[in-house]
Amino acid sequence: MATMTRRWGMVIDLDKCTGCGACNIACSQENNLPIFKDDSDVPKRVTFLDLIEVTNDKDPKAQYPDVKVAYIPKMCQQCSGNDPKHPQPPCVSVCPVVATDVGDDGVVSQIWSRCIGCRYCQVACPYEARVFHWWKPRYEGSFKESLNPDVSIASRGTMVKCTFCSHIWKLERDKAIAQGITDINAVTYTPACVSACPTNAIIFGDLNDPSSPVYEPKVQKDPRAVRLVHSIDELRTKDPSEYERRTKIKEYPNPKVYYLTSQQWLRDKISGFKNS
């Protein structure tokens, strides 16, 4: 039995995203997300993957028609924290009951049934990637037929979030073991949003694997790459000592989701450098 060397991550090419919504719906279906009549109300809805529509129209310099619109599929960024060997993402370090933790594959887990609903993690998460079940999840009548038995139904009063569909990895692992494959690193999988994306905008894989399209050192060199901690990433070359200092801060999230964009306005928007 080999030690797990995989470190799952995602690269999302925003230049290819049309905002069709397939990822969002595939995620809702795969993860048994509750069905409420007023799910059009953003603050109330329970989603793991938000399809955020963004524009540069708040930029004072932007005037019609120099305005653009894009979509950002935003899920849990699966933060590594400042020490990848002992990862402590902002949400994990505050959980009093270890309902959320980082697995040896880097995925930030969330165990609904262990959660006591204190919501500390929701406050700690810099990406608003966590959702609280204020109401009991409901599945009207025959909608229950389509529920996935591999994802448990959360109780009212618990916190839920994207886990990179790690239950699919577990299924694949069990299948591999049944076939006599005991090398844990031989098990690969595809999260629901990734296989649903019709333009291949979302790519998933092992950030440590040089043959993977998401091999981290390669992605980091891509001039289109930007993470939701872009303001710190920018310092890597510009000001290495300041970069070093900031990445040592305990709350440094260090996400494993990379976005690709050729649009400067979108880079600025993601990085928060400009108030646009």
């Binding site: 019609y64 305005v67 296989s195």
Partner: protein, 655 residues
Amino acid sequence: MKLERKDFLTMIGGAVVGTGVGTLISPGPWMGLQWLVEWTQDQYRPPKGEEKYLASICDQCPNKCTVQVRMIGDRAVKIETSNQGCAVGQLLLQVLYHPERVKTPLKRTGKKGKIDFEPVSWESAIADISKKINDAINNKKQDQIVAINPAFPDATAMLTERIALFAGSPHVYQESGYWALSNACSVATQKAEGAIDYDFENADCVVSFGARLFEGWGNPGRMHKVLNIWKQKGVKFIQVDSIATRTASLADQWVAIKPGSEPIFAMGVAHYLLKYGRRSGAANFGRFTELLINKFTPEKVSELTGASLETIESVAKALLQARRPVAVAGKGGKVVSSSVAEFAIIQTINSMIGSLGNSVRLVAFTTPAKPAIAKKTKGLDEYIASDMACDIVLINNANPVYSSVYGERLSEKLKKASTVVLFTSLLNDTAQYADYIFPTLTSLELPYTGQSVSAKFEAKHAGDSLLAIAKNTPTIAAQFPWNSYLDVVNAASFQVRNVANLDIPVDSITTKLEELEKLLQSSGSYSISMVPFEIPVVGEGNALALPYVLKALPNTILKGNTSWVYMNPVTASKEGISEGSKIDIESSRGELDTVRVHLTKRVAYDTVAMPIGFGHEELTEYGSEKGVNPKPIMSDALDPISGYADWWLTRVKLS
């Protein structure tokens, strides 16, 4: 043995402590607590079962994407689309397991205008409808039989068409959309049946005149593949539009124009093509060039559209410099509104750049021989607007009371009809006026690939119900030799043809452009232009019945039950409107329920961008009464060639 009091107490104490510690370190209390939580919350556990995959097809559009359905026992729990298709494929489970699905044929029990039905047997419903059709034929009232099909044709459309035509009725229509409008253009200008189809896969320059190609337009599954091809090949893509849509932002160049002025902009491009020596062998091309030279000079086009001379010229040059250029017509996303004149102008451009009959072709839905009956009206809207009465109406998987700008008038017509039959899997706005509702099967339940998911209730596909109705009608039964709907599917096919001839309808173009010019320059009380836009996942609106769609809506479209419209901050400040203001929108046709305003520079000046697909009176618990449907106040000007209203641009006032 004598037991001292102290020892007794020690033993009791030890037992208590031991039991306490033992209980605490055992899983008992925790499991008990978990059980209590589950019991008090009535927590549901999805049943487990054997996993297998079924091969199936998403038949929601002509692209017919293949999908793999993950089954747990007899339950379908996941759709694997393997990086193809669109969001519709992912929604197939919500369609399949919707709790409000129509499960048996229903017959009206109360007055029309409400959902008031009782279940009725298949046999009696089919026998009653067949008898009424037979009686209409025998009593020479066959021209009161009407068939209304969905915007994209499929094999069920062929059945309703055959029932009407073989009964002797010319009234076969489809909902307004790209297929109906471009087909009307092909018939009028190329003397051939077929919707206009573009060879996007091999094009090297694409200019889209308002067609929001990556927001539900055409076959979304195909268009998603096309986007990747364009990115790989570096295909030049120019989008002409009045709103910064996602398609406009994906384009290499977005040409921003005044709302609804796309056909005039196309005239400007044609003018430059002419200037650079491009000619067409099309009939009436001489008169068309006179129109270009005399009435649509670049200066005038620039004034009317708001685009600069350089921009118009650059678009023409991009087309000229390309090897396989394509000019795309059909404003909109999943819902398209335009006129035959507009299609014809853009087809003339395709003719001038050598693409007509080459990378611009026709795709026809070819069906077995049928009688040719002279049409009395050309399109559905013209029929609804006419005084012609209907008595038997077969509405096939469509919602024309909602989708047509003449919806209210249609509902009045349907109220007077004796037999309105709606084939649908979910009750919609049109169901309020139906006498019979027939359930239909969803994609996953069809044995296209020999594998299907069970509906878990007795249901038939609309095609099988229609076939049964036709076979039960003695006067037309012989024309339906098929045993099942799948036989019908195999009898029809899509065929692509290259047709290069073109007869330019110059008079219609002149009239249309003059009307548009007046509309664009009109001042007075209706000083604001209203143009539609779509949320791709909502499309024409039927998807709002599926609750997971609500989770994918942006937060600036719908809050609670209130629709939000988009407006440029410059216009808003002129009108005294701020972010979140409640406004009433009024056109010459009437006033809408109050909407709220979201200010964004994505929209042209003096314009309201109106989301469509919302505001259903009836569309299950999830889609009903959410937002507003602007169709009742949108322009109802009929296009004389297609017979459909061109509702893209409506002049409105705000209060």
